[in-house]
């Protein structure tokens, strides 16, 4: 049985933040779950996926976050407790639906989980999604620890049902990817079938209806604010005159700092866990006997602006600081030492910084950037494109996936990237704005997610570009989740449809479509050359399963290669930057344990010096 389905209340388990959240959802009786995978949220949905295979919990990998939110919104309007899970930037994709869902509201509880990524460990920006609360009018809840992350999910569902609105649960990477001991509660039965009651004049958002619904939303916000004022998630610890307001993981750093600096008597901490709407009266009360106040929050000065405004309303002139020179940054994530230091500096507490060892005389340690796996088919495709366009002035708009790692030299196959799906739209812009040859790259999962509209646009507006679709049969980057093009029978799962990228592209009316097997180097180069020469929109579908995925499915059949003494040390093979290669004694070698036998290097070598390892 899946460990998160253990129905033994009181049992203690060591859980990753994302497991704790998934467990919290199960303890809340969630019935309907959906996602588009994205770090740092991915393990939440992975656990839903696994649990759905052995229980009546419904889960789907949706095409993108907007669809994930829409299916969950429908389920919640049919009376099922539902949850849509996404990373912070996924919320941008879902935002169109979210804004108006706030008008329509829900019948059963609905939670939208957004996982923010301060410091951008694995994201293209570090936007602060608390602002989605303000923008949509929906409540926002934020846990400070892994244990609280679990507890917040049932709370969020109840709040959602009280307000008849979806609730935003916002985490950050250090909640999602931290681990702690969590105590299990019991699992209630799930309500897995609902009914939809027609009510078009409250549910169909034509202008006349929406005017009424917006007024209703404002009522709900007022109600939410009253709940925030007395919520146990917004609490005060201590009675000192130095005020500290904090949220999320910062609360943990603040607590440790107060202990380390031994200032518990002097401080008073307001932890905000219900951060939209902010509890105005509670904050004004908190500020009353403070000498000065420090706001500790990662990201934007979201609470700082609110607290200052509330103080002003109340005619309170107490000094309030947060972001700014000598204090906290809007950049990146915090850590215990930064928080300790800022608290000491702001309140004038004597404090000697810990002294890290002096590393000034330590020789530079060679970089170890993540690279495409040995034998990754993306490397082969990149090589073929490079050869096919030799001598041309090119632009390579790219997209989000493992293949983005092609940005690093010596591959250097990425020139422009905004967000999921942007390769197709930006390619069209570059093709019109320049005379350079535009060849853009998109993965299969990303193509389904949001690449298709840009391609349609290119056909309609008659752009001149080549789109290379890197079809490796999975969503590799985030941990091999399925997508609409995946053969689910490989995972022994039934009841799924399957879309062919080729049919989609041809159906759209792309005038030139070709398919390559990237491990066949010569043929691939020729096919790409033809596609690039085509005037108009051409699509190259490069089909080869992700080697890591193939290995996990037991489908990797390649035998390792070796460099024989025919090698003349041109080192052309190194141009593809395969990590199975190493230089030993001035000579090129292949690590047989890493080589997957894709044979791309063997086809590149002008001396035919790379051959299969002989059987012993």
């Amino acid at each position: 049985m899946h460990k998160l389905l253990t129905d033994r209340a009181g049992e203690k388990m060591l859980l990753l933040g994302n497991e704790a959240i998934a467990r919290g959802a199960v303890e809340a009786g969630v019935a309907f779950t959906s996602t588009y995978p994205g770090t740092p949220s991915s393990e939440i949905s992975l656990n839903f996926f696994q649990m759905s295979q052995e229980s009546d919990l419904y889960f789907q990998y949706s095409t993108n976050e907007k669809v994930a939110l829409e299916v969950a919104a429908a389920a919640a309007n049919a009376g099922l407790r539902s949850m849509a899970v996404m990373k912070h930037v996924g919320m941008n994709v879902a935002a169109d639906a979210l804004m108006t869902l706030a008008y329509v509201g829900v019948k059963a509880g609905m939670v939208v989980l957004t996982a923010d990524d301060p410091y951008m460990f694995s994201s293209q920006n570090e936007q602060d999604n608390r602002f989605y609360g303000k923008l949509s009018g929906l409540p926002v809840l934020e846990p400070s620890t892994v244990e609280e992350a679990k507890a917040l999910v049932p709370y969020a569902f109840e709040l959602s049902e009280k307000l008849k609105e979806p609730v935003i649960l916002r985490t950050t990477t250090r909640i999602n990817h931290s681990t702690a001991v969590v105590t299990l509660d019991s699992i209630p039965p799930r309500v897995t079938k609902g009914t939809f009651k027609k009510d078009p004049f409250n549910l169909v958002t034509v202008p006349a209806v929406s005017r009424k619904l917006h007024a209703k939303l404002l009522e709900h916000i007022k109600e939410a604010k009253a709940l925030s004022e007395t919520s146990p998630l917004n609490f005060i610890e201590g009675e000192g005159a130095w005020g500290i307001v904090c949220n999320g993981v910062s609360f943990a750093y603040v607590k440790d700092a107060i202990k380390d600096l031994d200032v518990a008597e002097k401080t008073k901490v307001l932890r905000i866990g219900f951060s939209h709407p902010m509890p105005e009266a509670l904050i004004q009360q908190f500020l009353k006997n403070c000498q000065k106040v420090l706001i500790v929050e990662e990201g934007e000065p979201y609470m700082e602006e609110a607290v200052k405004a509330f103080a002003q309303q109340d005619g309170n002139t107490v000094e309030i600081r947060g972001k700014g020179e000598g204090l906290f940054s809007r950049l990146y994530e915090f850590d215990p030492q930064t928080v300790r230091e800022c608290i000491a500096a702001y309140f004038g507490i004597p404090y000697t910084k810990p002294v890290p060892v002096d590393v000034s005389d330590v020789p530079e340690v060679p970089a170890r950037p993540p690279t495409l796996c040995a034998g990754c088919s993306h490397r082969a495709t990149y090589h073929a494109v490079k050869k096919a366009v030799e001598g041309m002035d090119t632009i390579y708009p790219t997209d989000i996936g493992c293949y983005t790692l092609g940005v690093l030299p010596p591959l250097s196959m990425a020139d422009f990237l905004l967000c999921m799906g942007s390769s197709t739209g930006t390619a069209g812009g570059f093709s019109k704005a320049t005379d350079q040859k535009v060849i853009s790259f998109i993965g299969d999962s990303t193509f389904f997610h949001s690449g298709i509209p840009g391609l349609i646009n290119a056909i309609f507006n008659n752009h001149d570009l080549t789109l290379v679709i890197l079809d490796n049969g999975t969503t590799a980057m985030t941990g091999h989740q399925p997508h609409p093009g995946v053969d689910m029978s490989r995972l022994h799962l039934e009841g799924y449809g399957r879309l062919s990228i080729e049919n989609v592209v041809k159906g759209l009316g792309v005038p030139f479509v070709t398919k390559i097997k990237p491990y066949k180097v010569k043929k691939s180069i020729e096919a790409i050359r033809e596609a690039v020469q085509f005037k108009g929109v051409s699509v190259v579908i490069s089909e080869e399963m992700c080697v890591l995925y193939a290995k996990s499915l037991g489908l990797a059949k390649g035998k390792p290669f070796r460099v024989t003494d025919k090698c003349k040390n041109h080192r052309e093979c190194l141009s593809i930057a395969c990590p199975a290669f190493f230089i030993w004694d001035g000579k090129v070698n292949i690590d047989p344990d890493l080589c997957t036998g894709c044979a791309v290097c063997a086809q590149i070598c002008p001396e035919n010096a790379i051959l299969p390892v002989k059987k012993p």
Binding site: L14, V181, F251, Y253, V357, T478
Partner: protein, 198 residues
Amino acid sequence: MKTTRVIIVAVGGQGNLLASKVLGEAALLADVPVRMSEIHGMAQRGGVVESAMVFGDAQSSIISNGEADVLVGFEPSESLRALNKCNAKTLVITNLSPLMPFTVNIGNGVYPDLDRLQELIREKTAKLIAFNASALAKEAGSIMAVNMVLLGALIQTGTLPLSADHVKEVIRTKTKKAFTTINLKAFDLGFSAARQHA
């Protein structure tokens, strides 16, 4: 309870996430408060994987520069890279078997000299325990068990409020059945290696 902060650094694929999981489960078994955090995601693409473990009474699950009580490096150059996490009182345990970064493999960048690397760490920190953990893992039956070798060494030093019995119990019950014997042997080899190299 005293707080003990441990950083584990490794190269993707060396199994440090399993190592921290075993320690976390052992802490749960021993009723020792524990919080940990890890940065993964690109682990399988050969990048650096770092996990932080905080035992005892602390709320934070990450460790600031200069604040690690123990640094465990699964790979020597990664131990050196993580030296900024240490202070003069830190105990460092490192594997001495290098995994060449690809940059070095293709001739960009120089791998640090292993003797100099040990000298540097010894000079700057309280204590260094350095040995070839990969060789011991192979001796135990699989290079994959290098994580268990280093766990054994870590437990031997007595810096954590966890006994070898707690950790072995977790290895027996929570790691893959097929590897239990190898893992336990690897743990013991690491345990005695730390005693020898202390």
